[in-house]
């Protein structure tokens, strides 16, 4: 894994991704070490951070020494010469390399202290600028492919990059531009926000809708302008997961019912379209005629699966829904349903969607169907969230007993949550079927449910923009790091744990939810099961 990191350069010929990660680790260690030393004075602080850097350097140096002197390839399978060369910063001479390593670590440690001393505004700007350079450095290949059709952008990219990463000048340029912009924005942010808040409600509405229209136009025209199948494919996959994420968001995020068998509804949507449209299975409908059936059947199953689990709470619900997800897959695989669903062979020859003779064949065309679907679903989700029903869901999420005492019909409200969540997944599955033309039971494994859950957690439960950010990260980012495909679920698992520990509200949290979470963290409330919380 470390080795694959080293093959990529962030800045061509200067620093590789592996070295960046290494230095970042040392830096954050030193930064954390500095954090407690404030009260002892500046000198102590610098000494502490330098010591932290030095220690990390020495540990790494010891590692290098032992691995080069004793052959430990058997123990650390990942230790290959390239790792050693990475650790010693590409020095041929071992002693010199170790001196370099310790020296660089100490200096990095000091940088950590300096970073700690800089004012928050500047530190934030530095951090964002650094992240921009890192991201752009890693995204080189993608950007090249993306903008190869647009003349001046292709020129710009050519000038920014060298063969294996950013050029030094390009990196410096990006750094300075983003740094200045962030700094300026940090000063301008509050006046601008005040101006917006000062506008009349009409003005705010116009502003909001124009931003929305601009966004829509950008999403609508960019893929067409790029005209790149790979980008279309990635965007379409992200879109399918956004649709599913929005559905699961209603079940988990709004109503607080942890559903681990969500893939079942995705599968139901896909198989309905498959059975109804594929000529191989005797289907005669076209995609648009089959779509309402897919949604209806998904909703029906949402009800059917919802009824028995209504009484079940919390942890149990997670396992039971997981069971349903597996049962649906076993059913699809069974001999009994083979004549209709094709067993392990799946359904092939699902026709593409068509409007007035225009065929939605390629990923970019499918992308438009998905885009429109997302807009409709986002609209529905926003409206639902603020509706009476949405507030009832959130009341159930917070406290079921109190919600019931307030006159909320638990059974009906939960069932509706399941059904609406299922319908969104049904749409997603239907589009998935027409996108691939072939569906196999293998596409509907437990992993999909976990993907959707992970994107929800990353983005922030209950937050609609969070779903979009989460989907971009969970589905989009792995496309950038193709060589780490094997470790994908390791990363998801780690992300779930780390998010729960450090930022349970997600990356783009819903304001209300964030307030509650942080309120709960502040005074550790005694765990009482029988008394109603005072607030």
């Amino acid at each position: 894994m470390v080795e694959t990191f080293d093959k990529r350069d962030v800045i061509s010929e200067v620093i590789s991704l592996g070295a960046t990660v290494l230095l970042l680790t040392v830096l954050s260690t030193a930064y954390l070490a500095t954090r407690g030393q404030d009260k002892n004075g500046v000198a102590w602080m610098f000494a502490g951070s330098a010591l932290a850097g030095l220690l990390s350097g020495i540990v790494l140096a010891l590692f290098v020494l032992t691995t080069t002197l004793i052959d430990m390839r058997g123990v650390f399978i990942n230790v290959k010469p390239s790792l050693i060369s990475l650790l010693t910063l590409k020095q041929e001479n071992l002693t010199l390399g170790i001196v370099y390593l310790i020296g660089t670590s100490t200096v990095t440690g000091l940088v950590g202290a300096v970073l700690y001393r800089t004012p928050g505004r500047v530190r934030q700007a530095l951090l964002i600028a650094f992240l921009c350079v890192l991201t752009l450095g890693v995204m080189q290949e993608l950007l090249r492919v993306t903008f190869s059709n647009i003349g001046f952008l292709a020129q710009l990219i050519k000038s920014l990059y060298e063969k294996n990463g950013l050029s030094v000048i390009g990196a410096a340029g990006i750094f300075i531009v983003t740094f200045t912009l962030t700094l300026v924005w940090s000063f301008a942010q509050s006046p601008v926000q005040a101006r917006i808040a000062g506008l009349s409600s009409r003005g705010q509405f116009i502003l909001k809708s124009s931003v929305f229209l601009l966004l829509f136009a950008a999403l609508f025209f960019i893929p067409k302008a790029l005209d790149n199948i790979y980008i279309g494919e990635v965007l379409a996959n992200v879109g399918l997961f956004i649709l599913m994420g929005l559905g699961l968001n209603i079940v988990v995020g709004f109503a607080g019912l942890l559903d681990l068998g969500y893939v079942a509804f995705f599968a139901i949507g896909a198989y309905t379209v498959g059975v109804l449209t594929s000529p191989e299975r005797g289907g005669t409908l076209n995609f648009w005629e089959a779509l309402p059936f897919a949604i209806a059947i998904a909703v029906l199953f949402g009800f059917i699966l919802g009824i028995p689990v209504l009484k079940i709470r919390g942890d149990y619900l997670a396992i039971v829904t997981m069971g349903f997800g597996e049962i649906i897959r076993i059913l699809v695989l069974s001999d009994f349903l083979r004549p209709w669903l094709g067993g392990a062979g799946g359904i092939v020859g699902i026709p593409k969607a068509e409007i007035l003779g225009f065929q939605f064949a390629g990923p970019i065309e499918i992308y438009y169907i998905i885009l429109i679907g997302i807009f409709i679903v986002v609209f529905l989700a926003i409206r639902l969230k603020d509706s009476r029903l949405g507030r009832a869901w959130m009341a159930i999420r917070e406290d079921e007993d109190v919600a019931q005492a307030m006159g909320i019909n638990l059974v009906w409200t939960k069932l509706i949550a399941f059904a609406i969540g299922a319908s969104f997944a049904g749409i997603s599955g239907a589009i998935f079927a027409t996108k691939l033309s072939t569906i196999y039971p293998q596409s509907f494994k437990f992993d999909v449910s976990i993907n959707v859950l992970a994107l929800l957690i990353l983005g922030g439960m209950g937050s609609i923009p969070g779903v979009i950010i989460g989907a971009l990260m969970v589905v989009g980012l792995p496309e950038l790091f193709r060589e780490f495909e094997d470790f994908r679920f390791l990363v998801y698992g780690a992300a779930l744990v780390v998010m729960m520990q450090l930022r349970p509200e997600g990356l783009w949290p819903e304001t209300l939810h964030m307030r509650e979470l942080h309120h709960e963290h502040a005074p550790p409330e005694p765990a009482s099961t029988d008394s109603i919380p005072a607030n």
């Binding site: 079940i312 390791l490 729960m500």
Partner: protein
Amino acid sequence: MQLVRRFLPLVIGIYLLLFFGPLAGFDFFRIVGEIYNKPSLLLQQLINGLANGSIVAIVALGYTLVYGIIELVNFAHGDVFMLGAFMALTVIGATGVTETSTASEKLTAALLAGAAAIIFCGVINVIIERFAYRRLRNAPRLAPLISAIGVSFIVQNIGLFWGGLRSFFPIMGVNSAAPKAFPDLIGRVDVFKDWFGLDLPITLSTKELMVIVVAAALMVGLRLLVQYTKIGKAMRATAENRDAAKIMGIDIDRVISFTFLLGGALAGAAGLMFGLYNNTVVFTMGFTGGLRAFTSAVLGGIGNITGAMFGGILIGLLAAFSDQYFSSRWTNAWVFAILVTVMVFRPTGLMGENVGQKA
């Protein structure tokens, strides 16, 4: 009227089973016919089910202990069980014992592997609690659960990675994801025939005997530990009411850590037993094993130690029965069906007290 209402779900259930059961291999008349023609097969399956069920029960104890004390379904527990099997396999590989070694060598290797697996899994479980759950003890209920799902994925990937270390552990075989052969250290000696000279139509091999005896010993040991030692008392007090226990001077963190240690150790022992009994381990076995064990814990009444044991044995029997008479492909579906049925009609399990508020 009261009677009708009481038995209506049961009647509906039986009708549903008779109508839809055949889809999942539950063909009542065929099964009755098969059993009538060859009753010894049923007895044989009961013995197999008892052995597999004992292993499931030991894993279930880990779920039930943890749930009893912090009301968390430790999703990662099944995967810790998998790590136990991998640890045992690694140690046996390192000792170089094969199926042709002498009995004393085999015994030493098995004991070493057991000790290593038990210590390793116990420690791993404590580490998991420390880093993934402790901070979330007062967080909203979903948080530790999601954290547990994450840990489960991490541990599963550790298993996958471990299985790929063939240059260091040749016993792991070529493919990291493929099932690995676990050396058959016990052998299949028919107890009835070779030890007692009885000629019965069914066989009870030394393997099954070993599993059942070890599992029974572990369960009795756990029971005694929880019932009669000081730390056991502290565990029961913490499970009953954490705050009151704290006021009484019990170190809650220590008790919870100890509970995880105990659960992990049991999972390690179960991992070794699974390997010795089934002679194959794979990195995904934690998922299926964990699912069955969790179902057993729920079936017996989660939080209840005796319940978990009986639940485990029942699930083992059901799985063996389903493998023989329904279809092994449907076994997991049947296990799930049992789980759903129990949760809907008797959420407290067969012998659980009322935990409706907690669940």
